[in-house]
Point group: C2
Chain length 361, copies 2
DNA sequence: CTGAAAGCGCTTACAG
DNA sequence: CTGAAAGCGCTTACAG
């Protein structure tokens, strides 16, 4: 193609890569306005040091030719909006939505763009994503949600942080604690462990001693912290931990229903069940309903997350409400350099509803 | 600054615009490997037509210098990943999350990036966003969710479509019907009107004649389509529409509770209430509980959206389940040119649960 | 398979 | 206030 011929430049690019249609460029506009490209550039860049009449001529030329600044070229020289990336395992549920909304509220206020992707738990895809973001000179990366607790993940994440630092982008962990051995990597979390232990203390305060726990297996930050919080409360009150009261479950409602159903059938004598998530707690309601067990008279139930509508279950679910939106806000502020980097730990909040009561005698 | 001095290039850019740290460029790598920039470029671009030994040398040099391809520069020449933008009013609820997940499942599979933003219903912000996306040469824009039904919005959206077309990017409307008078603008929607009318028919089939409707006021596509669906069903069965049975409400649970509370207090004789959304339906449960009205014996309730957990209300909520995830998938496929542009209308699906029953005699 | 050269589109000291 | 020139970093015919 002849790159000088405007008609030739009009043609669309092939099917790969961004389309290239708006082919009128700064030089065209400058020529049409009878000024140099430098002057035209000044008009679009900031508008300083340009005579008002010149500026009007350039703007008119741009309008007439349908000129659209090429932000890619501009970004190359270090101008234009920052981009922040939000990486999550799966775009699921209110956790994702609230956290994303919190982040977005900051980026949009500052005129920046937000890139979102889900890894599906695939670490190869995760690594590719980080590589792409590096190449695109992303401004910051938020790695969101619970992650594996093993050494492999720590090494991987530390690698991401280093690679991103090479292009000047900070990595911020959200909704999970600081990375062991890497205090330099920022994190914004809510105190899941204390949140859970306070919920359990509430049950203990009501007189419960046979308190069951249903949740996902160890191996992820969230499952460990919440389970540990449960253990903390028992230990603090000298209540021995009874393995027959701890049930492993998936995080779906039906998984929860199955686990709690088995718990009830086992006659382990649980008077209360603490669920790692509201999802599982909803499953507990189902199991209780199926078994003819009354809530809260025969079984108290506690959840975690305060997802919408659990307040309208019968009875309303007592649960721990994490400040997801605020986690997003704080993380975004650190990412943009508005808050100092470091480790933020926000407080969750116990919401008391009808699903708990003293154990029946 | 002396652009030749590597130390000078090392320095970070100012606080505005993307950081510029990874200052080793293709030329540096080429020099270090003893080849021309052209050859080095070939190695990173596709790897074709490069001798295996040369290629290894270049890769080694890149590794050693910590080189990261500048995707911005590459994008300028039409290479690199596409970016798709997802614009929504607010990042709220499962609707947003499911639709986003559907879109993301496609973009990530194809190696593209997804940009998300919320307008907060502010049309100025919306316009700015489109302008920024144009400059960044976005590959496609998805405008998601219900919108105003007035002529002003039609003009605005048509303007966006035209502006985006100038840079080769299609605009796709998601979760709302085609834009009146602009059949060329693609849309992916689910049949809200029929979905609602089928739900009402279900109640009519059970013997209800005094069927109330609670929902947001006209003026938005979703509120109109759902209300029209309600009207369709009544009309089809010769049931006169009674204004005293139609209540305007906000979309929060508490708004719904208030509206349904007033309805019950008005003694308009409703035996069933159809809610524009599950949110409102949950409010209806609250109102019924407060008024001592039994569901479904004294009042049947129907919702729309099938958000999580409504199946676990007591009784489970009968509602219409829209295919949000699939709307996202189809829209993304059209955006990428994998599906022909046009108007897609998916079928929602009535989920029958315990909240409806024949009217008590 | 490889290199020199021109190009993508914009920006920015520098010198008026 | 304005322009010529060099630069950002990468790519791609063209000619070996």
């Amino acid at each position: 193609m002849d790159p000088i011929d405007p008609a030739a430049r009009q043609r669309r690019a092939g099917s790969r890569g961004p389309a290239r249609v708006a082919s009128v460029n700064l030089r065209d506009v400058a020529a049409h306005a009878g000024v140099s490209p430098a002057t035209a550039s000044r008009v679009f860049a900031g508008g300083v040091n340009v005579h008002e009449r010149t500026r009007a001529r350039v703007l008119a030329a741009a309008e007439e030719l349908g000129y659209v600044v090429n932000g890619l070229a501009r970004a190359m020289t270090g101008r234009g909006p920052h981009t922040m990336a939000f990486i999550v395992r799966a775009m699921i549920g209110p956790t994702f939505a609230s956290l994303a909304a919190g982040v977005e509220s900051v980026t949009s206020r500052e005129g920046h763009l937000l890139l979102m992707s889900a890894t599906g738990g695939d670490s190869e895809r995760e690594a590719e994503l980080i590589a792409t973001l590096r190449e695109l000179r992303v401004g910051a990366v938020l790695l969101v949600g619970s992650t594996e607790t093993d050494e492999r993940f720590v090494r991987r994440a530390a690698g991401y942080a280093k690679d991103l630092a090479d292009v000047g982008a900070p990595l911020i962990l959200c909704g999970r604690p600081p990375l062991a051995g890497h205090p330099d990597i920022a994190s914004v979390d809510y105190d899941q462990r204390t949140g859970m232990s306070e919920a359990v203390e509430e049950l203990i305060g009501l007189g419960h001693r046979r308190i069951a726990y249903v949740g996902e297996p160890r191996g992820m930050t969230t499952s460990e912290l919440r389970l540990d919080g449960y253990g903390d409360a028992l230990a603090r009150h000298g209540i021995p931990s009874d393995p027959s009261l701890i049930r492993v479950s998936g995080n779906s409602e039906e998984d929860g229903a199955r686990a709690v159903g088995e718990l009830l059938a086992s006659h382990a004598g649980a008077t209360a069940v603490v669920c790692m998530t509201d999802n599982i707690a909803v499953g507990a309601y189902r199991a209780a309903r199926r078994a003819g067990t009354r809530i809260p008279d025969e079984l108290s139930i506690v959840g975690f997350d305060d997802v919408p509508i659990v307040s309208d279950l019968t009875p309303g679910l007592t649960t721990v409400r994490p400040p997801f939106f605020d986690v997003g806000v704080r993380a975004a502020e650190i990412a943009l350099g508005h808050s100092p980097s470091g480790h933020v730990l926000l407080e969750p909040h116990l919401v008391r509803r009808g699903s708990i009561a003293p154990p029946s005698p």
